[in-house]
Symmetry: C2
Subunit: 383 residues, 2 copies
């Protein structure tokens, strides 16, 4: 090995000879490894140095030849030779080492409130799709029910050297927002936004969505509407609730005819409990608008429990159009939000923020669409 190390380098004319030598060396190397047994990794991946030795050039030249941004600095024929050698050896750059030097890891952290929530995968899918196209990989972290872990998880991701963060978890006045700002790491929020709107975000027009739902129901003849609001510390929960009230008022409904119950979480069971509170009132609403499809599922449960029928006794409108709600009985009328598109846009925004850290904070608001199915109909008994 030492004999080769001392060989002259950087001289084209000798390369044929060097290749010959190197082939011998490689064989020897293999034999040594096999003979000795386990010299650490048996199938240790080739490094930039191996490629350099095989070509008789300096590692730095290999680095430049293989980097699109720097390859113009190396002679075309040498670059070609290097690329060929790299391919022959099956060389793949060690991203960790490059990341240490350049300070960029090519990793993006994604914080999710709950991976198992059917609303999340489409967003994630959009995020990864766009990021993967730019060579980034994503680390998805499930925060779980305890939001206090969020801060620690962000720190862990930063320690891992992520180049940016996608947060699908933030609550209003979330301390993690300030934390990210202080760490000056590119961040983009998705589906939710912070109260101060200090960070770029991709959201849907929650208030417009509620207007679609309310107008649809009022158009059907409903005059007494219920709303099951989501957690009020989450932007969607607060905004959809506000949107419901505003839309109802605009449609001429009095405050007594707009009933609101708040769910403590976006879960089916919380939806059920809130729906029962609504149904069990003295004068129940003829239609209920849920802040979320999962809550709507709970409304179905409650309706069944009370022996009522949807939509004849109670109409139901969901929100998000999560997969397969068209298969429910009755198929759920819901406000569709473009989740995949939301993920794509969030990734795009994050890439922009990474490219130009000082750029302005953009905010993308997507327009929701009402999907009318079987869970809404004319009220049978006008109260």
């Amino acid at each position: 090995m030492a004999s080769v190390k001392g060989a002259p380098a950087g001289c084209y004319a000798r390369c044929r000879a060097l290749e010959h030598w190197d082939d011998l060396r490689v064989v020897q190397k293999n034999r040594t490894v096999t003979g000795k047994g386990a010299r650490s990794a048996p199938a240790s991946r080739p490094t930039i140095k191996d490629v350099a030795e095989r070509c008789g050039v300096h590692p730095s030249t290999v680095s430049r030849a293989l980097s699109p941004a720097m390859s113009h600095l190396v002679a075309p024929d040498v670059a070609k030779r290097i690329r060929a050698a790299a391919a022959a050896l099956g060389y793949q750059p060690n991203v960790t080492a490059a990341g240490l030097r350049t300070g960029r890891s090519g990793l993006i952290g994604v914080l999710a409130p709950d991976i198992a929530d059917p609303g999340f995968p489409p967003i994630l899918s959009g995020v990864t799709e766009t990021l993967a196209a730019e060579g980034y990989a994503t680390i998805v972290v499930d925060v779980g029910p305890d939001p206090s872990r969020e801060r620690e998880l962000v720190d862990r991701l930063i320690a891992r050297g992520v180049d940016g963060l996608v947060l699908a978890t933030v609550v209003l006045n979330d301390p993690v927002v300030g934390h990210c700002l202080a760490a000056s790491i590119p961040v983009v929020l998705v589906n939710r936004s912070d109260s101060a709107r200090k960070l770029p975000a991709v959201v849907t027009d929650d208030e417009a969505g509620m207007r679609l739902a309310v107008d649809h129901l009022v158009g059907l003849g409903h005059r007494r509407l219920g709303h099951i609001a989501g957690p009020q510390d989450v932007s969607t929960g607060a905004l959809r609730r506000a949107g419901f009230k505003a839309a109802a008022a605009r449609a001429g409904l009095s405050a007594q005819n707009t009933l609101i119950e708040t769910a403590r979480a976006y879960t089916r069971d919380e939806g059920r409990l809130a729906a029962l509170r609504l149904i069990d009132r003295e004068r129940p609403p003829t239609a209920i608008v849920a802040a979320n499809d999962l809550l709507a599922l709970g409304i179905y449960d409650a309706i069944g429990e009370r022996g009522l029928k949807c939509p004849s006794d109670v109409s139901v409108v969901g929100h998000n159009d999560m997969p397969y709600v068209d298969m429910l009985s009755p198929p759920l009328t819901t406000v569709r939000i473009a989740q995949r598109e939301m993920g794509n846009q969030a990734a795009r925004l994050l890439l922009d923020a990474i490219a130009a850290p000082a750029a302005r904070r953009e905010r993308v608001v997507l327009e929701p669409v009402l999907i009318v199915r079987g869970s809404t109909g004319k009220p049978e008994r006008i109260p």
Copy 2:
């Protein structure tokens, strides 16, 4: 800064004085940064060196003090001082740098056939839960419809330095299996297995699951059963099909009374098409067992299209018990597999493989459970 660098180190007695000096230095450093404007990263994270300087010890001592495995090598009081300084500075080790040196990244790659498939999130959730507890983070990659990308994606993950792989994508005779074996990287399969069973895997007993479904239907009086098989290059597709045939034969059904149609993919629409082929036969089956809930959804579609009723005209059994199939109309009778548990076990197996690369290849087979709901009933018209 040079003046401090030259200060004597490794001497407890001088530490108070050094701390004093260092505080001064820190202030100066801050002032310099603020004054100069943007000295690269404004909020650059403190390194092990910063902690060392602050304590007047060598960086290696800090490294040892902060590493649980090595901390026994450093004096308790010094270790305490170091931990305090690290906490004060908000020091977090740079995982990238450590990974370069140690060769371990703390990253696990997960290959998924389709993140948006409702069956996958629970598995992923189980995997990340167990891995996160051991300090690992997961990179999830969506392979998408084109399986030829799998090999390249694996290589990319390996280039990223992942310590192991969880594959939820492999097909029978998948070349990627040999590729992983050759790369000698810890791998575990989940939900699917390779034909040669050369890799550790966590699967459910597919044949037992089909027996549960078939026996249930035969018990209800069905004598002519249909099966919608999944893709035959996927272990679940082939094994469930074989399980269906075996169970039907064991129950005394003739070959003419066991009808099989194969879906080209685990999708709702493929299920619909296959179900139509089954229903449109001269003598259709009175019950259909799907290899997967998504296919069962398609059966519902087909039944509706032909103006039939489930379960009175056709009973349907699904497989997987994916979220919210209890909300369908009728609620889906299905074979439940412990997806989250599957993820947990896969992660556990992978951790074992990383800890002891030479250990034997384990194989975990989970037992499925039949969940009887409303989509199965006695056949109305015995054919």
